[in-house]
Structures are given as structure tokens and as C-alpha cells.
């Protein structure tokens, strides 16, 4: 056998999505028809259902090979097929076509804390979760102390996890997962949780795994983490491979193509089953610091739906969320009928962000969707012209926001002596 760990050939996955037809006759009519002739009604209904079925290829003809010991990132926008690919690789769902050869024991980590039971104690959950992730009883017992130490929850080991804080919960869950020792490790965006300190610890552990000669497949929107961990990258777009190879150039291509520079939303994107995002524009782009930035979002309602919440999410290139524009106060919830367009126009009154590139996503909550859509577009902030004449510090020293401020500088007698003088005066009064 050669040194490949994963070989994927012509992999495709089809989902069938049913579309609801508008029922013009009304419920009573339908009920009438059903009672009068149930068999005809059933036949009719099945035919209608079949006619409105649609095929959707989540993956189409994907082929690649991963060498043993490589750490490979899978990147791409929401809906590009990353999760489907991971699900097929971890055998949760079957491919429609194609073939995969895996050389080595596979462990996949698509979610932190899968199968944790609220009523069970930390100790019990370690055993349960370990078994679910594919560890044997002996293996878990051997690593038990290590897991507990890593999770830092010694004191609460015999407390039901429902009494844990969310931080403790995540730490325990990751600790179990981190002690898996498969030859191939598949990880999905699990590092997007926990406090910064613990995230660093997790990344460290991942690095250890990746550099320890094991094969790692890593899906993430966190580009710095991807750059730190992975030497190779596969860039998926709309179910096909857009680019594959060394991580650096592929990540560059991805960042460039997700529209960081042009602020133009490229293709229509399905938001749940009811909505399609047809446009997301920011102008002017680049915008100068301190100036207003206009945004325009357009959805098409595929069927009657309700849009409950919508937020514009702004991220730095390091994947830190720097701002979120919550549009609930601007006329939400919004009801739309089939075929209608939902137009959102707005303006950020003053762009306070420090100069640099920013990425933009949306959080949408509606009848059929509750999700973050990241990396939809981006914009550039340019430094404002500086009237004072001094040279500003480089952007990396200045944080993320340029807070408007005023200050007054004076020279005076020291604070302490004036305070003492005041106290003396008060005492004197008495």
C-alpha cells in the first residue's frame, strides 16, 4: 500500500428536497376531497409530492487524496459541502456515488459533547462520551486521570453536568475528545467555543496531534487557526473542489474570492428553505474611517415566510467578531408572501473600525432557519486623513475600533498635594 491515508474518488451526495405547493383550495376543500374518495386523494397527493421534489447535489464529483501525516483544512463558504463531506467521511451518512478508502482508524469530532447526558455526573459522562467516540472501556480508564486534569473540573466530577457552567461543560467535552488516539482525526469547527484561554489550549492539543504524525482533517472559518495547524487545504465551492494544495495560496484564494476586496455578493445563496439571499452590498468600498457605510441586503421569499431576526455580523480577518448590527428594532418580524423580495437598506453612521480588511456575514432567524452565514462578503476600511500631522501607530497596535474621544491636557500641582490640602481645609472647618 502507498502512503495515502484518505483517497476520495468521484464522490457525490444528493439530497432530495420537497417543495410545498401553495394550497389554493383551502383546508376544508382538501378535507372534503379526502373524505369523498380517499384513494384518489392519496394518489393525487403522492403525484403532486413527486412532481415538486427537487434534487440538490451537496457534493458533486469530488476527488482528492490525503497523505498520511498531513493536516488538511477544508474551507469554503456555508453550504459549500464541507459538513456533508465530513459526514460522509465519518460514515454518518452514505454517499450517493463514488468511493472512499480510509487507511487507519477514524475518529470524528463534529460537535463537542455529543451524547452528553444532562442527568449524569461528569465521571459517568466521560465514560459514556468516550464510548460514543469509539474508545474502549480499558482505554478510557487508562486516560481517565489525564482527561480530568485537562478539563480542570476535578472538584465537580461527581456533580450532574446539568449543574455545570457552559464553560465547564465544553472543557470536559473537549477533554474527552482530545484524548482520542485515532490514525485519522476529523474535526469540525469545534474550537468556536469556550473562553479564549481554553481555546488556546485546544489549539495547542490539536497542533500536537497534527504534528504527531497523525492525519487531521479540519473544517474551520478561523483562518489563523487553519494557517497554524494545516499544511494543506481543500477549498470547496458549491459542492465541488475549487482549489487544493498548499495551505497558504489556497487560503489566499479563498479570502480573495469571498469578496473581501470588492464588497459584492457573488452568487444567490439559499437561506433555509424559504429564503434566497440575492444581494448583499456595501458601499462605498473601501470606506474611509469616520465616514458612513451603506448596506443593502436583498432576499427573495421562495414561499410565504416570516423573518424574525436579522443581524449583520462583522468579523476581523482573525475571526474575531467586532460588531453586529441587530436589525430587530427596524420593523421585525417581517412577513413575506411567496415571490416577494425583502429589501433591507441601512447605514452605519460612522465607520469606527481601524483600517484593514473585514468580513461580513449574516445571522438569520426565520420560519425555516436559525443560522449564521459567515464570509458572505467583506469590506476594506482605509485610514482617515490625519489633520494633526503626526504619524499614527500601525493598525495592529491600535486594536479594532477608533473610539471618538476628547481629552484635555494641562499641567497643575500634583493631585495628591491638592487632595491633602482639601482634607486639611475640611478638618479646619470643623
Amino acid at each position: 500500500m502507498n502512503d495515502s491515508a484518505i483517497t476520495v474518488q468521484n464522490l457525490s451526495k444528493r439530497y432530495t428536497i420537497g417543495r410545498q405547493t401553495a394550497n389554493g383550495d383551502g383546508l376544508r376543500h382538501a378535507f372534503d376531497a379526502m373524505l369523498r374518495n380517499p384513494f384518489a386523494w392519496l394518489r393525487e397527493r403522492n403525484r403532486a409530492r413527486r412532481a415538486t421534489r427537487e434534487d440538490f447535489w451537496a457534493l458533486k464529483d469530488v476527488s482528492f487524496e490525503i497523505k498520511r501525516g498531513d493536516a488538511v483544512a477544508i474551507i469554503g463558504r456555508n453550504g459549500a459541502g464541507k459538513s456533508t463531506l465530513l459526514k460522509i467521511l465519518s460514515r454518518i451518512t452514505e454517499p450517493t456515488e463514488g468511493r472512499i478508502d480510509l487507511h487507519g482508524r477514524v475518529a470524528s469530532l463534529l460537535e463537542v459533547g455529543t451524547g452528553f447526558h444532562q442527568e449524569l455526573t461528569g465521571r459517568e459522562n466521560i465514560y459514556l462520551n468516550g464510548a460514543i467516540l469509539g474508545m474502549t472501556h480499558a482505554e478510557i480508564r487508562r486516560k481517565f486521570d489525564e482527561i480530568v486534569a485537562f478539563s480542570e473540573i476535578e472538584k465537580f466530577l461527581d456533580t450532574p453536568v446539568k449543574r455545570y457552567s457552559s464553560g465547564m461543560y465544553v472543557r470536559l467535552a473537549f477533554a474527552v475528545a482530545a484524548h482520542l488516539e485515532p490514525e485519522i482525526l476529523i474535526v469540525d469547527e469545534v474550537l468556536a467555543v469556550g473562553d479564549a484561554n481554553f481555546q488556546r489550549k485546544c489549539l495547542g492539543k490539536m497542533e500536537e496531534v497534527a504534528h504527531g504524525g497523525r492525519t487531521v482533517l479540519f473544517v474551520s472559518h478561523n483562518m489563523p487557526a487553519v494557517q497554524a495547524l494545516c499544511s494543506q487545504a481543500i477549498y470547496l465551492q458549491a459542492g465541488s473542489i475549487r482549489g487544493a494544495g498548499d495551505a497558504e495560496p489556497i487560503i489566499g484564494q479563498y479570502l480573495a474570492e469571498t469578496g473581501s476586496a470588492q464588497g459584492q455578493f457573488a452568487a444567490p445563496l439559499a437561506i433555509g428553505t424559504d429564503l434566497t439571499l440575492t444581494a448583499l452590498e456595501l458601499s462605498p468600498n473601501p470606506v474611509e474611517n469616520g465616514q458612513p457605510l451603506e448596506f443593502a441586503i436583498t432576499f427573495r421569499a421562495e414561499r410565504a415566510t416570516v423573518l424574525n431576526e436579522l443581524s449583520v455580523l462583522i468579523y476581523s480577518l482573525q475571526n474575531t467578531r467586532v460588531a453586529s448590527l441587530d436589525l430587530r428594532s427596524c420593523g421585525m418580524p417581517l412577513e413575506a408572501t411567496a415571490g416577494q423580495a425583502i429589501l433591507v437598506r441601512g447605514e452605519i453612521n460612522s465607520m469606527l473600525l481601524v483600517e484593514g480588511e473585514y468580513r461580513v456575514g449574516l445571522f438569520v432567524s426565520g420560519k425555516s432557519v436559525l443560522e449564521n452565514f459567515l464570509d458572505l462578503t467583506g469590506f476594506t476600511v482605509r485610514a482617515r486623513r490625519n489633520p494633526t500631522g503626526y504619524a499614527p501607530y500601525p493598525a495592529i497596535y491600535r486594536g479594532v475600533v477608533e473610539l471618538p474621544f476628547t481629552a484635555d491636557l494641562q499641567c497643575r500641582a500634583t493631585l495628591r498635594s491638592s487632595a491633602t490640602a482639601q482634607v486639611a481645609a475640611l478638618v479646619g472647618d470643623r
Binding site: M1, Y15, K87, I88, L89, S90, R91, I92, T93, E94, P95, T96, E97, G98, R99, I100, D101, L102, H103, G104, R105, V106, S108, L110, E111, T114, G115, H117, E119, L120, E124, Y127, L128, A131, I132, L133, G134, T136, H137, E183
Partner: protein, 272 residues
């Protein structure tokens, strides 16, 4: 080195090997359900005694006292309890394993393991309840100073039969419920009617002879009759054609259950 090929519709060969490999997970899931089952209840495990006890009281009153059904020369409570025991096991196993996939949907959509493990472990959980209620039967028999006949050595066989029957139907319902949540409403009905359609509160010999074979298509008829034959003996003779009929229907249930489950299993993660 471990090697695995994933291809559309080619996982069958791997499957049964995996079922064996994941036997520990199977134990863990059963253990989890047992641990969780009576958490935050006041009387705890006593529930598995209270439930059959109350049902026994009601059935004895309704069929024995008011209905004046024949008891075949044994105290009516013992007669009822011999039917209750396998029936309660069957109905809880059916309900629990039927809903097991849906209640574990977070597992199904996030990790791989042979899905068969989930309904199977729920049957085990109900089996533990069955054993506890069995102790209660012993207590009732001591109370009435009733000595079981030698037939009792056949009891494990009928326990196994009830096991297979519950598992077979459980598989069907579990697989169907993934797609059609209607079964969430259907199952309580089946359990409710089944109590009266099966010879739990009465003897199956009250069924007219010409209908008896047809009646035995109900898998629980053979099982309950078998339990009575083992524990009560005496006048409770086995109706062999009926038993054969029940065994056949149990085997058919299990075989079709496994086939249907396997057929739909590959899409569970997509539609759950």
C-alpha cells in the same frame, strides 16, 4: 493497518462486524438509560413494582370479580400477573425502543455506529424492569403459597421469545418513527388496545376454538400462554398449533424488522 472502504450501498459486509465492535457502546447506552431512568423520582426503582401491582389490581377486579372469567383453578391475581409480566415487558420495550432513535437524534446525526445498537439497548433497559417485576411475582406466589410445576424450566425459552418479539416490533417502529412521527401517537394506542387484545386479564382458552389459531397471530398470545403454562401448570395446557403460529409471527417480525431497519438506516442521519 485498519482499512475501510465507503461506497454507496456497500456497507453491509462491514455492518455486522461493526455491531460486534460496538458492543461496548451498546452496554454503555443501556447503562445510561438505567441510570437516568429513575433520577429525580421520589420512589425510584419502586415504580417498576407499583405499575404492575396497580394494573394487576385493576385487571383482577374487572375480569376476575366483575367479569367472573374462569381462572383455571389458580388465584386470579397470579393468573393476571403471569400475563402482566411479559406484557409489561413487551409494551415498555416497544415504546422505548420505538422512540429510541428519535430521542437519540443528536447521536445519530453526529457520530457513526451501527444504529441497531440503540433500539437493542432500550430493550435491555426494559428487561431489567421485567426482572424486578419478576421478583414481585415470586412474592405474590409466596403469599398465596403457590408452588410452580416442573414446566418452569421452560421459562427462559419464553422469556427469549418475548425478547425477540419486543425487539422485532421495536425495530419496525424505531425505523418508521424516524420518518413518520405519527407513530409517536400510534404507539400508545397499540399498547392500550393490546392490553385487552392479548390474554393478559383473561385466559386465551375463553376465545372460541375456531378463532384461536387466528388469535395466535398476535405474538403475545403464544408468549403469555407459555408463561402461564410454565408458572401455573395444571389446567393451563399449551395449545401447540397456536404456539407455533405465534413463534412464526415473532420470527417474521424480527426478520422483516431487521430488513426494514437496515434498508432505511442509511438515510436516518439525513431525515431525523
Amino acid at each position: 493497518m485498519h482499512h475501510l472502504t465507503i461506497e454507496a450501498g456497500r456497507t453491509e459486509r462491514q455492518y455486522w462486524r461493526d455491531v460486534w465492535r460496538y458492543r461496548e457502546l451498546f452496554c454503555f447506552l443501556a447503562w445510561r438509560d438505567l441510570l437516568v431512568r429513575y433520577k429525580q423520582t421520589v420512589v425510584g426503582v419502586a415504580w417498576s413494582l407499583i405499575r404492575p401491582f396497580l394494573t394487576m389490581l385493576v385487571l383482577t377486579l374487572v375480569f376476575g370479580k366483575f367479569g367472573k372469567m374462569p381462572s383455571g383453578g389458580v388465584p386470579y391475581p397470579i393468573l393476571v400477573f403471569c400475563g402482566m409480566l411479559p406484557w409489561q415487558f413487551f409494551s415498555t420495550a416497544l415504546a422505548e425502543s420505538g422512540s429510541s432513535l428519535v430521542t437519540n437524534s443528536n447521536l445519530i446525526s453526529k457520530v457513526y455506529f451501527p444504529r441497531l445498537v440503540v433500539p437493542a439497548s432500550s430493550v435491555i433497559t426494559s428487561f431489567v424492569d421485567f426482572l424486578i417485576s419478576g421478583l414481585f411475582l415470586v412474592a405474590v406466589m409466596v403469599w398465596y403459597q403457590f408452588t410452580p410445576p416442573a414446566n418452569i424450566t421452560w421459562l427462559p425459552f419464553f422469556v427469549l421469545l418475548s425478547f425477540i418479539a419486543s425487539f422485532g416490533i421495536g425495530l419496525w417502529i424505531a425505523a418508521l418513527m424516524v420518518k413518520y412521527r405519527d407513530f409517536r401517537f400510534i404507539v400508545p394506542f397499540v399498547v392500550q388496545f393490546g392490553l385487552y387484545l392479548s390474554p393478559v386479564g383473561f385466559l386465551s382458552s375463553v376465545v372460541p376454538d375456531e378463532w384461536r389459531l387466528l388469535y395466535s397471530l398476535n405474538p403475545m398470545v403464544g408468549v403469555i400462554d407459555g408463561f402461564r403454562w410454565c408458572i401455573l401448570g395444571g389446567e393451563h395446557q399449551l395449545y401447540l398449533p397456536g404456539l407455533a403460529c405465534s413463534i412464526l409471527s415473532i420470527i417474521a417480525l424480527l426478520a422483516t424488522g431487521i430488513l426494514y431497519f437496515r434498508k432505511t438506516e442509511r438515510t436516518f442521519a439525513d431525515i431525523i
